[in-house]
C-alpha cells in the first residue's frame, strides 16, 4: 500500500467525515481552516480526488436525477484502511517533525535587521499572532458539538497559537532589555 501525501490524507479524512459529498464541499471545509498552509484551490482538489479514485480509495457517482451533474464522493473500504494507517503514522518521529510556522521561520533571521527594525518586527509579529489566536479560538467547536477529533484538533491549534503569542511577548521583552 503506497503511502499517501499529507494533503491526500487530509482530503480523505474530510471526505470520510462528510460523505457522500461534493469536491466543492471538501474545498469549503479546507478553506474554513485558520491555517492557510494549503490553498485548497480547485486546481489542487479536483486532480487529487481523481488520483484517490484511481488508487481505489474513494468512489464517486453522479446522481442521474440531478440536473447539475453533481459528483458525490465516498470513501471505500480500502480508503478507510488507508486513512487509518495515515493517521497512525503519528508515532513516526519523521512525521512528528513535520512542523512549520512562518513567523518562527522569520525570527531565525532577526540579525539581518537593525535594532529598530527588530523591535518593529516583534511588535508586528505579536499583533498578527494575536489576531491568529483569535481566529484559532473561534475555530474550536462548542462542547457537545462536532466530533471529538475535530474538537481536539482545533484545541491543539489554539494552544499552539497561544504558545506563539507568549513566545513573541518574550521576544519583544528581550529586545527591549537590550535597548
Amino acid at each position: 500500500m503506497a503511502a499517501i501525501t499529507e494533503l491526500e490524507g487530509v482530503v480523505l479524512g474530510i471526505v470520510d467525515s462528510l460523505q457522500p459529498c461534493t469536491a466543492y464541499a471538501v474545498r469549503k471545509q479546507l478553506l474554513a481552516s485558520p491555517s492557510t498552509h494549503w490553498s485548497a484551490s480547485a486546481g489542487s482538489i479536483y486532480p487529487l480526488l481523481s488520483r484517490l479514485e484511481e488508487m481505489g480509495l474513494v468512489s464517486t457517482r453522479v446522481d442521474p436525477a440531478d440536473r447539475r451533474g453533481r459528483r458525490l464522493t465516498s470513501v471505500t473500504r480500502k480508503g478507510r484502511a488507508a486513512l487509518r494507517s495515515w493517521i497512525m503514522q503519528a508515532g513516526d518521529p519523521q512525521v512528528a517533525a513535520r512542523v512549520f510556522d512562518a513567523l518562527r521561520t522569520r525570527a531565525f533571521f532577526l540579525d539581518a535587521l537593525d535594532p529598530g527594525e527588530q523591535k518593529r518586527f516583534a511588535e508586528a509579529a505579536l499583533e498578527a499572532a494575536e489576531a491568529f489566536l483569535s481566529v484559532a479560538g473561534d475555530y474550536v467547536p462548542p462542547p457537545e458539538e462536532g466530533d471529538i477529533g475535530w474538537r481536539l484538533g482545533a484545541l491543539g491549534g489554539m494552544y499552539a497559537a497561544e504558545a506563539r503569542v507568549r513566545w513573541l511577548r518574550e521576544v519583544l521583552a528581550s529586545l527591549d532589555d537590550e535597548d
Copy 2:
C-alpha cells in the same frame, strides 16, 4: 520587487548569516533543523540558488585557486533588502496563518478510528512529540552563543514543541475519561 517564496527566504537568510559559503553549507544548515518540513535536497537548493542569482539577490564566485571548483555565494545589497522585507512580512495576517503540524492535522480525523486505536494514536503521538521536544530543546544554542535571532527562533520551536506535548497529554486524558 517580486515576492520570494518561503524556502527562498530561508535560504537567503542562511546565506546571509554564513556568507561567503557553498550551497552545500546551506544544505547542511537546513538539514540540521529539527523540522523536516523541507528536504533540503541538492535538487531543491542548487536550482533555488541559481534562481536567486538570476534575480540578483545573491552573487557567486569561483576561487580560481581552488582546484575543487567550490562556488562561494554571497548576498547582494538587493538581496539584503529582499531578505529584510521578507522578514517584515511577519505583520501580514496571511503570513501568520502559515502554520502546519502533521500530528495536529491527524488528530482532526480521530473519529475515523475505533476507541482502542484512538488511545494508541494518542500514546504514539505523545511519545513522538516528546522525542521531538528533546531534539528541539537541544537545538537552542547556549546563552551568549550564536546570534540572537537564531536563539529566539529555536526557543520558539521548543515552546511550540512543549505546548504540543501538553496538548497530547490532555488528549490522552480526555480519551481515558470516556473509557
